[in-house]
Amino acid sequence: MGKNKMEVKNLDFYYDDFKALKNINMPLEENKVTALIGPSGCGKSTFLRTLNRMNDLIDKTKVEGEVLLDGKNIYSSEVDVVELRKKVGMVFQQPNPFPKSIYDNVAYGPRIHGIKDNAKLDEIVEKSLRGAALFDEVKNRLNDSALGLSGGQQQRLCIARALAVTPEVLLMDEPASALDPVATAKIEDLIAELKNNYTIVIVTHNMQQAARVSELTGFFLMGDLVEFDKTDKIFENPADQRTEDYITGRFG
């Protein structure tokens, strides 16, 4: 087993009185893709959002336990949430580029973090777009509105936008669920490419996708992490009956 980039320890999460995550323990290995699967409402997206503290934005939520990034608890009072989110980037389910140009979308992150030099920004934008396998398709229209791109291109733009702030971990919340099969295949190829440089955690509804892209898989059910293991093991020989029922399509 490789080095753990992040480690979740005894994590409980509450929406008001509702306990959405129950005592979750999970390591996230560096430069690996970890997939989170489970039926709707099982807590997998909530779990993903605890990893970069996006749940802080929701009123009346409470976190107990620890989430370690490079050994440091991200919920400790010394951690600056802005710095955390620079290191732990996120791509959402719906492609959601800003209503700005393609260039300005990618340059948004670097700009907020204080980079003003145009040559430097050009370089970051090109590198990020290449990293998201989008550069060749858009290089001649960087100043066009991002909203004119196709859904699949928009999603890769959102990945490029996340890469532009040079994160170490990339969280993806069902990044291909709103896309057609061709665009989905491109995103999956991209994930395979990206794991060389990033630690990736992906939530997906699509079991084949989890099997294709990930090395490790966690199965969530009603707030519990039922099983966490190598993806091959989970799909071929799950230890828990509930995992097998879910994977073979008996519920969910």
């Binding site: 620079k86 959601n96 800003f98 700005k100 948004y108 907020i112 909203l147 702030v165």
Partner: protein, 288 residues
């Protein structure tokens, strides 16, 4: 069976026609108003009427000082009310926790919108004219009008901000932006067309307000154009009121009142047209 069907179809038809009739009545009323104002006022409209000073006890000349005065009052009120209203709306939608306090404030704002405008006029007289000693002036009038349109601007800004998709906020924050950076760089630019539309509709409203400026800014007649924010001014709606109620040569002055009304109406329609164009551009930008 057959007769039941016929009856049902007949009912449909009758209802459809009655509803249509009500629509046409409403449109006709609007049409009649515009027609009468124009019919009575168009005769006095001329380049001279728009650009020259009143003369001979307002039986001759034009209404230029009133146009200019209205322009000053309206611009001044927008200048005060826009930042105040927009920042209040930002606080309410982006920062404040949703709870009893915000609900209370929203009720307050809505009630402010329902206060008769003459009450604002009295308030302006007491506070701006007397207490702050600004006198009957452009400044007092603009501040009073600013309070009149404040609820409109807060409501429009709030709606514009709320309609900005949460995904924009989340993805900005997920990139490590602070809340204010997110508001400044993503939320506000997306909301600005909506906010502007609200402000322009506010302009249309205050351009026609009479009661708030009677005690605070307007004068019946002025020989010279205003030279500072502490000057009193003539204004279009008050000019109409004055011509009709206190004129000494009604035969000549009443047509002037209608002419002034035409100018005011055209101005307000133009302003609303600008708001509509903005709204269309705004929806185009987001429906891509």
């Amino acid at each position: 069976m057959e007769s039941k069907l016929i009856k049902r179809k007949l009912t449909e038809k009758v209802i459809f026609n009655i509803l249509g009739l009500f629509l046409w009545i409403s449109i006709a009323i609007l049409g009649i108003i515009i027609f009468f104002i124009f019919k009575r006022g168009i005769g006095v409209i001329s380049w001279e009427f728009i650009t020259s000073m009143p003369a001979n006890g307002m039986t001759e000349g034009g209404i230029f000082p009133a146009i200019l005065g209205s322009f000053y009052l309206v611009s001044g009120s927008i200048l005060f009310a826009t930042p105040l209203g927009v920042f209040a709306a930002i606080y309410m939608t982006e920062y404040a926790k949703k709870g009893r306090l915000i609900r209370l404030i929203r009720i307050g704002v809505n009630n402010l919108a329902g206060v008769p405008s003459v009450v604002f006029g009295l308030f302006g007289l007491a506070v701006f004219v007397k207490y702050l000693n600004f006198g009957v002036s452009i400044l007092s009038g603009a501040l009073t009008l600013a309070i009149v349109i404040l609820p409109t601007i807060i409501r429009a800004s709030e709606e514009a901000l709320i309609s900005v998709p949460d995904e924009y906020r989340e993805s900005s924050l997920a990139l490590g932006a602070t809340k204010w950076q997110t508001i400044k760089n993503v939320v506000l630019p997306a909301a600005i067309p909506g906010i502007l539309t609200g402000c322009i509709l506010g302009v249309g409203r205050v351009a026609g307000e009479t009661a708030p400026i009677i005690f605070t800014a307007a004068t019946f007649f002025s020989m010279k154009l205003p030279n500072s924010v502490f000057s009193e001014v003539m204004a279009l709606p008050y000019h109409i009121y004055a011509l009709v109620t206190t004129g000494t040569f009604p035969a000549k002055q009443v047509p002037f009142a209608y002419g002034t009304a035409v100018v005011l109406l055209v101005l307000v329609l133009l302003i609303n047209l600008a708001a509509i164009i903005l709204r269309i551009r705004y929806s185009k930008k987001f429906s891509n």
